[in-house]
Every structure is written in C-alpha cells, then in structure tokens.
C-alpha cells in the first residue's frame, strides 16, 4: 500500500526502481462466492408428520473477510407453515489457522412470533476433522442462547460418505412465547449416507434424524400439545455450487 502510494506520487523516481505497477487481478485479493446446502431434505416422522427441511449457506468474499447468509428452516407439509425459519447474515474473519469468527444478525420468522438476535460465533475445523460451528445469540429482548453444531464425515469410499451430525441449543434465559425454557433446549442428531453423484455438486442421501426437547422446553412443548421427541426418516441431497 505504501509502495503504491509513493509510486503514484513520484512517478519519475519510481520508474527507476519499479518499472510498472501490478494492477492485475493477481495483485487483488481473490474474491470467491459459493453456495452450499448441507441439508435439503424431506422428513417423515414416526408419527406421520411430513417436513421439508433445509440448511444452507451462501458466501461471498476474500480470505480476510467473507459475508455469509446462513439459512435454515422446517416447513410442515401438513400444517403448510414454517415450524422453523432462521436467516443469519454474518461477517466472517479468520482468527487462527483453522477457525473463523462470525458476527451479525439472525432473524427468525416462523409461524408465530418473530425474533431478532445479535450473533457471535466461531466456525472451523477442530482436530480429528470435526466441523464445528458454535454461536451465541442475544435477542432484542436481551434473552441469550447458544448453539453448537458439529459434524463428521466418514469416508466409506471416496464417493459413499456417512455423515454424523449433532446440533444442540442451550438457553440462558427463558422465552416462553416461542416455547423455549431455560437450560438445555433441544438436540438434533442425524446420520446420513450420501453418494457423490455429480462431482460434489449433487450428493443425494438417505438417513435418520432424532430430535429431542429437554427440561422446561419439553414441558412447554407438552403443554402446547406437541411432541418432545421425534424420529425421522430423511431423503434429500447435499449441494455445492
């Protein structure tokens, strides 16, 4: 930067040392975009509930700064309503060899009351190849919660991949209106067997997912007449493009 400045201010002196400045793309930070659906699936539960579910991520940026739109939701096919709908817009910067920090906002607009949160999280690759996302959320009303997402890919072959995933939420404050009790809120454990059909662009999978609510959250759920534990058979695809 300093060189660029001095060269443009003193062209004659600079030409003696630096004959031309590199203004090509090579000298610019590489800007990259990407889109990835970790989950795009149909779920069928043990009590005949049908859901459409996605968990996706769109990004644009450089090694130093990326902007990421994280979107996930569950659409009840019977109820014709979003049981869950979360959108996050975060900025992401690297903090270590394998980890990035993310900060931004999250807006939940499912059926029922909406919520807006501030988000602070880390994302990266932990030792032994665990993909980890950990975030803390603080709602406009000052209610705090935390979420841990971890996944592991087991290569049965270089095309058949078994993916284990765990997603848990903890609430530090109760938010009764949206059915969240204090303490451990819920967990979702999944096991999916995928096959890379077209490069890594399209990888169809089948699997099972187990969802469970805990403690006060489970109690709130029971009061509302909903289940606290569900098993799902899932079929879907991972997409990268």
């Amino acid at each position: 930067m300093a060189t660029a400045l001095s060269t443009s201010m003193l062209p004659t002196l600079a030409s003696a040392q630096e004959r031309m400045l590199d203004n090509t793309q090579r000298k610019q930070p590489l800007k990259v975009w990407g889109a990835r659906f970790k989950e795009l699936e149909y779920r069928y539960s043990d009590n005949d509930e049908e859901l459409g579910v996605w968990d996706a991520d769109f990004f644009y940026g450089t090694d130093a700064l990326k902007f990421r739109l994280l979107t996930s939701g569950e659409y009840s096919i019977d109820g014709q309503a979003y049981e869950k709908l979360e959108n996050q817009l975060v900025g992401q910067v690297p903090i270590s060899t394998f980890f990035d920090v993310q900060a931004g906002i999250r807006v939940d607009t499912p059926e029922g009351p909406d919520r807006t949160y501030a988000v602070l999280g880390i994302t990266g690759l932990a030792p032994q190849w665990f993909e980890v996302d950990a975030s803390v959320y603080v709602s406009k009303g000052g209610k705090a919660s935390a979420e841990l997402d971890a996944s592991y890919e087991l290569l049965l072959t270089n095309y058949w991949i078994l993916i284990a995933s765990l997603d848990t939420t903890v609430a530090f404050n109760e938010d009764k209106e949206i059915g969240v009790g204090k303490g451990l809120v819920s967990s979702e454990v999944g096991l999916r067997l995928s096959y890379d059909l077209i490069d890594r662009t399209l990888s169809p999978y089948i699997g099972v997912v187990h969802e469970r609510k805990y403690g006060d959250t489970a109690a709130l759920s029971r009061t509302a007449g909903s289940s606290t534990e569900d098993w799902f058979a899932v079929v879907g695809a991972r997409l990268i493009f």
């Binding site: 400045l21 203004n23 270089n158 990268i240």
Partner: protein, 575 residues
C-alpha cells in the same frame, strides 16, 4: 514456390548469426477433445496445444500475437532469456494484449534446447493455451539422434480454471478422490496393527492434514500432444534409430512419472540445458520442467510411453511404433502415494509421540536440510544403494533420493526396480557461468494453509507482498524451505536457476526447480537481467492463491527506452 526455394538456399549460405524470422500466432477459442470429454478452451492458431515453434540460436525473432479472445491475454516464453519487456507477464513486464489487438514480440534467441510457451493471463494456460519451442543450437550437439518428437504433457480438466479455483476455495479437497477410507483403515490395521493405525490416524487428524494430499486436482484427462490415453498419440520410428524425445510438462498441477517399458532412456537435457548423459528407467517431471531423453528401440515392436501422475489418479499414454496401428501393453496405475510425517518437514518431527503442536507455524525447527550435510563425492558413482539415508526411515522398497525428506512418502522408485532419475544425477554438460561465491543468501519459505487453500512465500500472499529486490551483477543464493506438505515447482523468469546438487560448477542450469515437501533446496542465480520478473510456484492454482513474487533487478544497463515508454505505469490487465 521458386522464390521460397531460393530463399531457403540463400539462408543456408548466409552466416547463422543476425538473421531474422517472423512468426504469427493467433489466440483463439477452441474445442478440446480429450477422448473422455470435449471442452471449450483456448489455443493457438486454432488448436490446443499450439504449434511447435522452431527457432535457431542467433536468430532475431518477431512474433505477432493476435488476441481473438474477448478477454486480455499474454504469452510467456518459458525458459527463454530475453529482455524483460518481452517476457509476457501482464502487470510485471507489459500490460497484456487486449482483445482484438496484435502485439509484436521481438527478441534475439541466445540459447538452444527444448522450451515452451503459455499464456500468463488468468487460467488460460490450464484451459489449453500452451505450445512447444524447439531451438536449434548454433554448434553441434554433444549427442546424436536420427529423429525427434516433442512429448508435451498436460492435465486437461472438464472444469474451467476459474471454476476449479473457486471449488478449491470452497472446499480444498473438492477434487481429491484418493482420500483414506474405512477400507484403507482396515487394510492398514492388518498391515501395521490396530493400535499403530489408530495412532497414525489420530496424529494426522490432530494436524488436520491428509496423507492423501498429493494431488490437489484430480478428474483430469492426461494428454500427450493434445491426445488422451484413448486417442493414443503415436510416433513412428525405424528400429535401430536413436529417437530424441523432448518431454515438456505443460500441466497446470500434475507431476508425472515417465517410463517406456522395454527401453532405457538417456537423459541429455533438462530445462533446455544439456546435462551429462544419465541412463534411467524412469524419471519424474515436475510441472513446467522439460527433459530431453534419447531412446534407441532396436526391435520391430511398439513401445508405450507411460506417464503416471505422481498421485496416481491418472496417466498419459502414447506409443512409439515402427508402423501405424501397432500398440504395446499399457501398464496399470500403481497405488496412490501417501505422505508420511517426514513430508511435514519443519512442521513436525518424525516422532509421533512427541509432536509439539504449539510450534506448527514456526519454521525454525530443524528442517531436513539436505544439501550441506550430504557428501556428494560419494554420489559420483550414482549408486544410491551405498548411501546411508537412514534405512530405518525408508518406505517400502527402500527408495531414497536426497531431494526428498528422509522417509518421505513421495520418493519415487522405478516400476522395473531400476534407476529412477534424481536431481542429484543432473550435472551440466557445460557450465554457463564461472563458479563464484554467492554475494548473499535469500531465504524463501514456501508456506500455505491447505484448509483455506492459501499459498504464500514467507507466509505472505503476493497481494500483500513487497517485491524481492536484487542488484544487477550479484549472484544470489536462494534457499527454498518447503514448509507445506505439497511439492512446489518454483520458476524464476528471466534468469537461470542453478540448482545446487553439490557439484560446484557442474551444477545443472534450470528454469524450474521442484521443492519437495519437508525439504530445503538451494539454487543460485547470476543476476544478469535488468528489469522486473515473475518468480512463482508453477502450479496454476497455487500461483493464483498467492505463491508468487515479483523480482526487481536494480541497476545494470538500461533496457530499451523506446519500449519502456510504451509501458504505461500501472496499466491494468488481467491476471
């Protein structure tokens, strides 16, 4: 017709020096058919690979390059010693060639040998923009041959270069289909025992490094002279003839191990410079290198030129035959290479138990400093079996090569158990410079972060790097310390790279030097070319990810002012 004949006769009568040749190249969108897929790419004079340019030493060449693309382009004359404005690197030596524009290169040919040319803009080279250069020497060559063929290798991929780069950035192992699987775990358990296998997986998992990270880019079709294995490029010979094969590796990312089952190869030239002949059964060619070998098939049979990728994900194949239509057996690919802890070099010791993970980013640990410790007088006989490289650390087969880390998983060995060429075997046929002490040493650590697909020099990507400043007239000793787990073919433009193999004035003169993981390699450069030059890893996507430097040579005779004034400062162009 008559005129050309007379011109031809006249040119034979004229003295060699001082004549001029004019050449025309167009840069075109072309279709590339690899036999496995057809893709849109970039070529020269309507084809990829482009034509073979034949120059003569002493010739003054004029090359008119017309850009028929909708984007900027450039041509770099790889390995040619020329004024820097003619070197063809946009942003460093000239602004680039705009769409529709014709740019005229003009420079004297002051060397001979096998070279190549390629675009230095964006990913045009991986997309097909390359061709061969043969320069006939002024004098007699120190070897005889009756026939010659260019064998130009490439790794043509169905995806465009831009898409490949993006996929690497999204997911660094996007193209790696040789990763360790559950099946390999069990086969390792039966070989090494359960506990050792688990320990091994935990050690690599802890580093978040893959033993399978040998070939970033897979899924390509390996080409010889533009032909895929199914299309089988074929060269004709008469039994008993000496055939000179000019191997050029124009791949974007792929090293090849080359052999011709049934034929011994005599290596006579490396990177355009004659070397003292070495007989080998097999050799490894890094990206951007050239090797000239002479073979003498005596039998009336076909031979397969077999070039396996270093990671064993693909092969290129061609045939030498006395008559059209004959073919020889095509060998099977050997098992994919696996890195070892030795390839982690300076980052990690050999001892899994005592790994210090706090020091991962610290390059000061004892690297396997191959050159100074070696007693090269012992290597004269080229009998490596006498060399003690720590037999405990040898991989299966006991292969060794001083240019690989001890116990490296990448050490090559010949498929027939014979001689595999090492850098240590290369000795210049004729020294190009007087031997002298280097004026200074510059350390270049080759660095990177595979998970982010960031590649850099001394931990700084090109976009953030200051130029390397050299003084005209000095002799610089470059110390490459490869701190990554991948091999990097380092290419300095404009000036020769004299590879230190411990042979003093007989050290080979190269333009591209492959630095294997976990090793330190030295080269010396006589700084005899004013101007500014590119210096980079020749793996296209490593270069684009930041493993690139600009070298400024200060002082020395002023280059042609007329040409310089045509160079607007900071004129933008494409990569």
């Amino acid at each position: 017709m008559k005129k050309t004949l007379w011109a031809g006769v006249l040119s034979l009568l004229l003295p060699m020096a001082g004549f001029a040749g004019e050449y025309n190249l167009t840069v075109d969108r072309v279709e590339i058919d690899t036999g496995d897929f057809v893709k849109k790419g970039i070529g020269y004079n309507g084809k990829s690979p482009g034509p073979i340019l034949r120059f003569k030493e002493g010739e003054e060449v004029t090359i008119n390059v017309t850009n028929n693309l909708k984007e900027m382009t450039s041509i770099h004359w790889h390995g040619l010693i020329l004024p820097f404005e003619q070197d063809g690197v946009p942003g460093i030596t000239f602004p680039g060639i705009k769409p529709g524009e014709t740019f005229t290169y003009n420079f004297p040919i002051i060397q001979s040998g096998t070279y190549w040319f390629h675009s230095h803009s964006g990913f045009q080279e991986p997309d097909g923009a390359y061709g061969a250069i043969i320069i006939e020497p002024k004098g007699r060559e120190p070897f005889r041959y009756d026939r010659e063929y260019v064998i130009q290798l490439a790794d043509s991929h169905p995806h465009s270069g831009d898409r490949i780069m993006r996929n690497f950035k999204i997911m660094p192992d996007y193209y790696n289909r040789e990763q360790q699987t559950v099946g390999e775990f069990f086969s390792d358990v039966s070989k090494d025992g359960f506990l050792n296998t688990v320990k091994d997986r935990l050690a690599w998992g802890d580093m978040r490094m893959m033993k399978a990270d040998v070939e970033d880019l897979q899924g390509f079709t390996a080409l010889i002279n533009g032909k895929g294995p199914k299309q089988n490029w074929t060269g004709i010979f008469e039994p008993g003839e000496r055939i000179r094969l000019r191997f050029i590796n124009s791949s974007a990312m792929t090293y090849f191990d080359i052999r011709i089952p049934g034929l011994e190869m005599t290596v006579v030239q490396a990177d355009g410079n004659n070397v003292q002949p070495v007989n080998v059964d097999e050799f490894r060619i890094s990206v951007a290198e050239t090797y000239d070998v002479i073979v003498r098939p005596k039998n009336n049979q076909a031979y397969t030129i077999f070039a396996e990728s270093m990671g064993r994900s693909a092969y290129a194949r061609a045939t030498l035959t006395p008559e059209e239509g004959m073919e020889a057996a095509v060998p099977k690919l050997r098992k994919p290479a696996r890195l070892t802890m030795a390839d982690m070099g300076s980052m990690h010791g050999m001892d899994h138990g005592s790994m210090d993970h706090g020091s991962m980013n610290n390059g000061n640990m004892n690297e396997s400093d191959v050159m100074p410790d070696m007693d090269h007088s012992k290597m004269k006989g080229m009998d490596h079996s006498n060399m003690d490289h720590g037999s405990m650390m040898m991989p299966e087969g006991g292969a060794s090569d001083p240019f690989y880390a001890k116990g490296s998983g990448l050490i090559p060995s010949a498929a027939n158990g014979g001689k595999f060429l090492s850098y240590a075997d290369l000795k210049a046929q004729r020294p190009l410079y007087d031997e002298r002490e280097p004026t200074r040493e510059i350390e270049l650590r080759l660095t990177g972060n595979m998970e982010r697909y960031i590649w850099s020099i001394n931990d700084v990507k090109y976009e953030d790097a200051e130029p390397i400043r050299l003084q005209y007239g000095e002799r610089v000793r470059f110390k490459f310390v490869n701190e990554t787990m991948m091999a990097h073919p380092m290419h300095l433009h404009g000036m020769w790279s004299i590879l230190d193999v411990g042979e003093g004035q007989w050290n080979p003169i190269k333009h591209t030097i492959s630095v294997q993981p976990g090793t330190t390699v030295y080269m010396e450069t006589e700084v005899d070319a004013p101007g500014q030059w590119a210096f980079h890893c020749h793996l296209s996507y490593h270069m684009a990810a930041g493993m690139f430097a600009k070298v400024i040579v200060e002082g020395g005779p002023e280059p042609d002012q007329a040409v310089l004034s045509d160079l607007p400062l900071g004129n933008g162009g494409e990569l």
